[in-house]
């Protein structure tokens, strides 16, 4: 009986772990579950969603343009860390963040559109 309960408990923990509380959360069953290593930012209606995204080091962030107008993703930090080409509707741009830090960015075509990736 105990063993069944133990296995059920472990299974529940695994299920809860994989549901994912958010990319930044460190899970206690990290060995057993798949780490969330890709996050998506949706571009729509002249805005980035979410505007601020917090991710762990090593995450690949993919921006997808769902707007009916082209946009770009260009970082505004001193070292100009990333810069996409022009993304038309449904086109994507990915960048893997290997260093912790705060990475503000904007759309170089519509400079009022800004966003931020915080890497912890």
């Amino acid at each position: 009986m105990r063993r069944t309960v133990f296995i059920a408990g472990l299974a529940a923990a695994l299920v809860l772990g994989t549901l994912g509380f958010g990319a930044g959360q460190k899970s206690h069953v990290a060995n057993a579950q798949e780490k969330m290593s890709t996050m998506e930012v949706k571009i729509d209606n002249f805005s980035f969603g979410p505007v601020t995204l917090t991710v762990p080091v090593g995450t690949t962030v993919t921006w997808v343009n769902r707007d009916d107008i082209p946009h770009t993703v260009v970082s505004t930090d001193d070292s100009k860390t990333f810069k996409s080409k022009v993304l038309d509707t449904d086109e994507k741009f990915s960048f893997t963040f290997s260093k912790a830090g705060t990475y503000p960015y904007f759309c170089s075509i519509h400079p009022k559109m800004t966003g931020k990736v915080i890497v912890q």
Partner: protein, 322 residues
């Protein structure tokens, strides 16, 4: 879509006999296709349907040109799946004007994605327009991926920096400005130090009575900063033009006609030949605005400009494609 006349002047500051109140009243008609002709400092307005009655060279003035804008060649979403077709309709409209314009200004966003074939298509379509000379300034869609190199190669001969230049026609001084380069995050359009220095120098020796026409893509006045509809250093540019009795500023970018008069300066934005955009604040974002297919041509258009030598403000008239 004409702007409320917040800045209507009631006095004739310049004592030049120009009836500015009448001019503003006339400008309010412009969106529906009225035609204002300045003759002897007095404004007369006519509806476009009477255009054949007044098309004598005397009444039509001495300089006539057309502004088109925002052709966005390559755009193919529901707001307009055939931007080549509507550009052709704009050319037909231009060719139908009774006083053939001498040349055209294109205030940018010629292409949608800065692709060579998009520029080629626009060049091809404009070849069938009666006015053979076209003067271009880039929109932000024309300088993607290559910092504007392709735009300069195609349209920037004789220009300075990112593609600014000036020229004269029948005593009117034209200034083509570029305010879509080096845009900063969270910012508006920008002219930049080098271009402003050039501008100051370029107009320094002109007589105050020289009519000035400035054309640039993003509006040079603060239409709606929340949507990036303005230029952060345009005040400096306008300061260099303060001495002139007549300054006309022609812009695009916002895909709707809007006008404003401030002292000697008349600001005017043109409709797009591709798709309309919402009025400031009337939608979540300034993206392409869908209208019923049968209404599309009525929200796209061209701008016809006439100037009578020796007089002041230019007559600026918008007409839709349908």
């Amino acid at each position: 879509m004409s702007e409320k006349k917040k800045d209507e002047l009631l006095n004739d500051h310049n004592h030049d006999g120009v009836d500015r109140r009448g001019f503003l009243k006339c400008m309010a008609w412009a969106g529906t296709g009225a035609f204002c002709v300045m003759k002897g400092g007095v404004l007369n307005s006519y509806s476009l349907s009477r255009i054949s009655e007044i098309s004598t060279p005397d009444m039509m003035g001495e300089l006539s040109f057309v502004q088109i804008s925002d052709s966005h060649m390559g755009f193919n979403k529901p707001a307009n799946p055939d931007v080549a077709g509507t550009l052709k309709a704009a050319v037909d409209k231009i060719n139908g004007l009774s006083a053939a314009p001498e040349f055209m200004l294109h205030t940018g966003d010629i292409s949608h994605l800065s692709k060579p074939e998009e520029f080629d298509t626009v060049d091809q379509i404009l070849k069938s327009a009666t006015p053979k000379d076209v003067f271009y300034v880039p929109g932000e869609h024309d300088v993607l991926n290559d910092d504007g190199k392709q735009f300069l190669e195609r349209y920037g001969k004789g220009s300075k920096g990112a593609g600014w230049y000036s020229f004269e026609k029948k005593g009117v001084h034209f200034l083509g400005l570029v305010n879509v380069m080096n845009l900063k995050a969270g910012g508006l359009g920008t002219l930049g130090h080098d271009q402003l220095e050039w501008l100051e120098d370029d107009v320094k020796h002109l007589k105050h009575s020289t009519p000035i026409v400035v054309f640039a893509h993003i509006p040079l006045w603060s239409v709606y900063p929340e949507w990036g509809w303005g230029t952060d250093d345009s005040a400096q540019a306008l300061a260099y033009l303060k001495k002139f009795g007549s300054v006309t500023v022609l812009n695009g970018h916002i895909h709707q006609t809007m006008q404003k008069v401030e002292g000697n300066v008349t600001f005017h934005t043109a409709a797009s030949t591709a798709f309309p955009q919402p009025a400031p604040g009337k939608a979540d974002s300034p993206g392409p605005m869908k209208v019923p297919a049968e209404q599309l041509k009525s929200v796209l258009g061209i701008t016809d400009v006439n100037y009578i030598q020796g007089k002041h403000a230019l007559a600026v008239v918008d007409s839709s494609l349908a």
